[in-house]
């Protein structure tokens, strides 16, 4: 579905939300987030070139949250997501699989992986596909470590490890490649982003491009940026993966979601991540 047909095809059910246009009246922009008094986070900046004319500014989801939720992310001790990072660190240093290796055997410390979160999903030449951080972890487990039962894509262990890798990349500028061999996957992601799903006939763009800042029930819609993932959601009282969030969104349109880890969600993750090119890695962020 093209952007043009989408704009003409808003169903009556969503007019209340869709007719309004962006509304930042209730949103306090211009504040800055510094984590632990040292990691500077870019929470609003100019959009990547392909979104010029769509957004004047791209905003991290942090901007749309209340003072209390914002504050929880400013200090690692206050951020419950860091509990899962610690569990990830323990697993990082624990041998798994027939080779008797831990993540640390090859990567020494998580900090050696500090550029990963900012550049994933990315094209993997060896496998001829775009890989997410989770897929990369699975690749290590199955192809190098001899792990018989690798982490489930959305398992607690996987989210812990992904949160660890995000945490060491905090403050780095999101810069996922969308051209070259990744272009085809990116284009699929873009198509999915603008496709209306479910009985509600809602695309990602309906809420997160055209209505960010507006209320959906009593909640402020964000731009749907994923720079803060895996993110600690107060609702779940746990860290949540990008694909889990995508699934929730499509389910809420009363549609049939793609599977977590599916090629469609990988493509959507690449596309949505690229919409945040210029923001900082923030995971594990704290969201409602």
């Amino acid at each position: 579905m093209t952007r043009k047909t989408l704009l003409g095809g808003v169903s009556a059910a969503v007019v209340a939300v869709a007719a309004a246009g962006v509304g930042l009246a209730d949103i306090r922009t211009g504040d800055s987030l510094v984590i632990n008094g040292e990691i500077e986070i870019v929470t609003e900046t100019a959009p990547p070139p392909f979104l010029e004319g769509v957004f004047s500014t791209i905003y991290s989801g942090w901007v749309f949250r209340t003072d209390e939720t914002r504050a929880m992310e400013a200090d690692d001790f206050d951020n419950p997501g860091m509990l899962y990072v610690e569990q990830g660190l323990e697993a990082f240093n624990t041998a798994m699989g027939t080779e008797g290796n831990s993540c640390a055997t090859c990567h020494e410390t998580p900090e050696t992986l500090s550029t990963v979160r900012a550049t994933y999903p990315q094209w993997d030449e060896e496998h001829g596909t775009v890989q997410t951080v989770e897929m990369q972890i699975l690749e290590c487990q199955t192809e190098r470590m001899g792990v018989a039962e690798p982490y489930g894509y959305d398992s607690q262990e996987m989210r812990n490890m992904a949160a660890l890798i995000a945490s060491v990349g905090r403050g780095q500028t999101i810069n996922v490649a969308i051209d070259g061999p990744a272009a085809e996957t990116w284009a699929l992601g873009e198509e999915i982003y603008y496709t209306a799903y479910g009985q509600m006939e809602l695309s990602c763009a309906h809420c997160h491009e055209r209505n960010y800042g507006n209320l959906i029930r009593a909640d402020h819609l964000s731009q749907g940026q994923v720079n803060g993932f895996p993110t600690y959601r107060l609702k779940n009282a746990n860290i949540v993966s990008v694909h889990n969030r995508f699934r929730g969104c499509i389910r809420d349109t009363r549609g049939e979601p793609y599977a977590i880890g599916s090629p469609e969600f990988v493509a959507l993750e690449l596309y949505v991540a690229s919409r945040g090119n210029g923001l900082s890695v923030e995971g594990p962020a704290v969201r409602n």
């Binding site: 001790f77 419950p80 509990l83």
Partner: protein, 109 residues
């Protein structure tokens, strides 16, 4: 005992005698309220941290009685008076009888 229960505490490394220092504690725990139902429709049995204490050199700083309305991963912040160098002793009591502990040292000049 609940899985992956990890206590975390933060106190300053040093202080002056008689100073009130800020203490923060967090423990990973589901705090299952006993009010929720599982996918089988049955109530999930309550399992919470029901008490937390902080002592310094054996003397009580704070003793907290906890009910199921305290959030998952219980968080507490409070102040402690330190008159001498010593050790904070933190104890969390689980419904199932498990006890989780942590300590932190502070140097008083």
């Amino acid at each position: 005992m609940a899985e992956n229960v990890t206590p975390r505490v933060r106190v300053p490394r040093d202080a002056t005698a008689g100073e009130a220092v800020s203490v923060r504690t967090l423990i990973s725990h589901p705090m299952e309220s006993g009010q929720r139902r599982g996918s089988d429709g049955n109530l999930i049995p309550r399992q919470i941290i029901n008490r937390f204490t902080c002592e310094f050199n054996g003397e009580m700083v704070i003793d907290i009685t906890i009910d199921p309305a305290v959030s998952t991963n219980p968080y507490f912040q409070f102040d402690a008076t330190v008159n001498e160098s010593g050790t904070f002793q933190f104890t969390w009591y689980d419904d199932d009888g498990s006890v989780y502990t942590d300590t932190a040292d502070i140097a008083v000049a």
